[in-house]
Symmetry: none
Subunit: 219 residues, 2 copies
């Protein structure tokens, strides 16, 4: 190595140790990545310097957590959780609580605005998805009716002697979508959409709401 071989023991000179750490760390990461790619291996490497600074790498597209979990499964090692189960569960449950509009006592006005925005985004997504589903059902039904019409026309033509005149009459038996485009679909599949049934925003104090609206318009 370099200008002569060195003995493998702790380097006492701090500067030299830090330089060597920097260089060899780079080399080690390079070798690690090469091994991972060349041999299709899944690798996780964790390095704490003597000062406690962390350097880590793991095979993409995995995350270190996944490597560690796999390690646990392979060895049966038990990792102590940073916060143990109850707390973690609590955290997630509180997360849900947020979206249920519960336990808001500790939130500032800004937090509430952010939360409100999130709920609004979520609601928009949900409604878009509802719309997509409606569209699909509409399309399906339209195709179905079209097929039926086609079939009826064919049957009619087959059953009558004066074909051309009869078909003309049929045109007036299937104006279904032109007159009531969505009625039948709604009866098929759609519950009432609640957000169309009542005025959307009912703040508790209309006067405040009005003041705010006025304020916004003045801004």
């Amino acid at each position: 190595m370099g200008r002569g071989k060195i003995e493998i023991k702790r380097i006492e000179n701090t500067t030299t140790r830090q330089v060597t750490f920097s260089k060899r760390r780079g080399g080690l990461f390079k070798k690690t990545k090469e091994l991972s790619v060349l041999c299709d291996a899944q690798i996780g490497l964790i390095i704490f310097s003597s000062t406690g600074k962390l350097w880590d790498w793991c095979t993409e597209p995995f995350r270190m957590e996944q490597i560690i979990e796999k390690y646990q499964r392979s060895t049966g090692a038990r990792i102590l959780e940073r916060d143990h189960h109850p707390r973690e569960t609590l955290r997630l449950e509180l997360g849900i609580q947020r979206y249920l509009g519960e336990d808001m006592g500790c939130l500032q006005y800004e937090d509430l605005s952010k939360l409100e925005q999130e709920l609004e985004n979520s609601m928009a997504k949900v409604r878009n998805r509802q719309n997509e589903l409606l569209q699909q059902q509409l399309e399906n039904l339209r195709r179905k009716i079209n097929d039926q019409e086609q079939r009826a026309v064919m049957e009619f033509e087959k059953a009558t002697v004066e074909g051309s005149k009869a078909v003309h009459a049929m045109d007036h038996h299937f104006p279904f979508f032109e007159e009531q485009p969505t009625g039948s679909i709604l009866q098929l599949a759609c519950p009432v959409l609640p957000h169309l049934q009542y005025p959307y925003l009912q703040l508790a104090q209309p006067n405040i709401q009005d003041s705010l609206r006025a304020h916004n318009h003045n801004n």
Copy 2:
């Protein structure tokens, strides 16, 4: 390297790959140990071969679990426990996902309606809470101004000989809330309320929306 450099990409020939894995793994462990000793670093290395076999090493006298726990503390990484925990956590995380309007592909129309209703309820609660906060701030400010007025009156009475006449005049110096009841509060603490700035519900297909509204009114 060896008899010529090689491109760093997966070695397709199985035998060659295994040989290379064996040799380079050894080399990597050696380098890892050297770095650990030379630079007094605490290192954990986990390698899964492409066949899933585990190879690991960590700085003595530590055990891998300790390195991993330290890693958790450093990064805040969340390692799932081997057994009961994962499912529970997943369930909760999915629960949150619902309220973020993500991953709705598997939901039926009825599910979406229910979710929408929940979001709507949550939003109402959030907005009520916002209002409560506004009310409180308003109340606080009102009290503050009132105190100031009281103090001013007292000072004024103290400073003048003809007390009664002066107090009467003061009445017209604090008509603050009667004229602009909320303006000052908004400047103090309130971001703009987004839901008052744009029409609330913007469905992607207005025509469908209209059909639905018509339908609801007919019901």
